[in-house]
Amino acid sequence: MTSKVITVTSGKGGVGKTTTVANLAAALAADGKKVVCIDGDIGLRNLDVIMGLENRIVYDVVDIVEGRCRTRQAMIRDKRLPDLFLIPAAQTRDKNAVSPSDMVRLCNELREEADWILIDSPAGIERGFRNSIAPADEILIVTNPEMSAVRDADRVIGLLEAEEKPAPSLIINRMNPDMVKRGDMLSVEDVYDLLRINVIGIVPEDENVIIASNRGTPLALDGKGRAGQAFRNIAHRLNGEEVPFMDLEARSIWERLTKLTRGR
């Protein structure tokens, strides 16, 4: 397989980029692919804790770029998935320690051995964002169904268009079907109508996301949980499979049963 560099970005902060990278990486690696994640958020690294690898960091991306270690030495192997690796961000350096061409060079080296290279972009449209999109073959924009997240997503889409980057796809995260039904949350159709780019994923609001991040184990790995399923679906779509969007209103049989027995 020819390798692909996927950058996850958003404009607005806190919409779920790091969560998305950790889960897509786990889902792709569980399929037997070799996956390398790069934390592009220099100074505010987070992907290490979400993946549960924070205690094993020796070298980081700035060490690679500045020649203090070989790329291999900065790649931390996941605890459970032998084909999943993380290159952490530097915590005590600023974003200017890495340039867009450094990122292109690093990714070209990684392309030799990895099937997927996933880059966790920082929020905003500054240097860290520029670094993250420079090597991208494909760009995923994460948004939430609310005013400022959609507006910022549109800004980023416009910037990518102006720079003739690959056309991005959209992940709408933290959908709450009950609020949509009440008319108090933008629907998937509304967000699509506003942004008009290909929707590759719809992820529900799910407390399992926080539980999984507490534990440092991506929720895409365990069978149950709706957000985990949504991330696995996105991973399959990245692989070129056609996967229907799940009905966010349909609850699992288990949830329905517990509701019934508790309900009265």
Binding site: M147, R151, E161, G183, D184, L186, S187, D190, L194, R196
Partner: protein
């Protein structure tokens, strides 16, 4: 949400979408509502120098089409046929 919208029971998602539609047009074109008004006034003045138009019947607006927008001007022209026969 305005008080009127509150009274009419308009849902907040609907307000969000309508507000976003306007905000995105202005973000994408770098044209504020005030700048669009100024453009409208300039257009009316320029066209009026050549032909007789009724400013009240003109529509100049930005329309969305996918991710692009276009400036649409709809300018009804007055019928002047009667002057020649008189």
């Amino acid at each position: 949400m305005s008080i009127l919208e509150h009274l009419s029971g308009k849902k907040s998602a609907k307000s969000a979408k309508e507000r976003l539609q306007l905000v995105l047009i202005h973000d994408r074109t770098d044209l504020s509502p005030a700048a669009l008004d100024a453009l409208r006034d300039d257009l009316i003045a320029t066209i009026s120098r050549h032909i007789d138009i009724d400013p009240a019947s003109m529509h100049i607006d930005i329309e969305r089409e996918g991710r692009s927008q276009r400036l649409i001007a709809d300018i009804p022209l007055r019928v002047i046929g009667s002057r020649r026969s008189g």
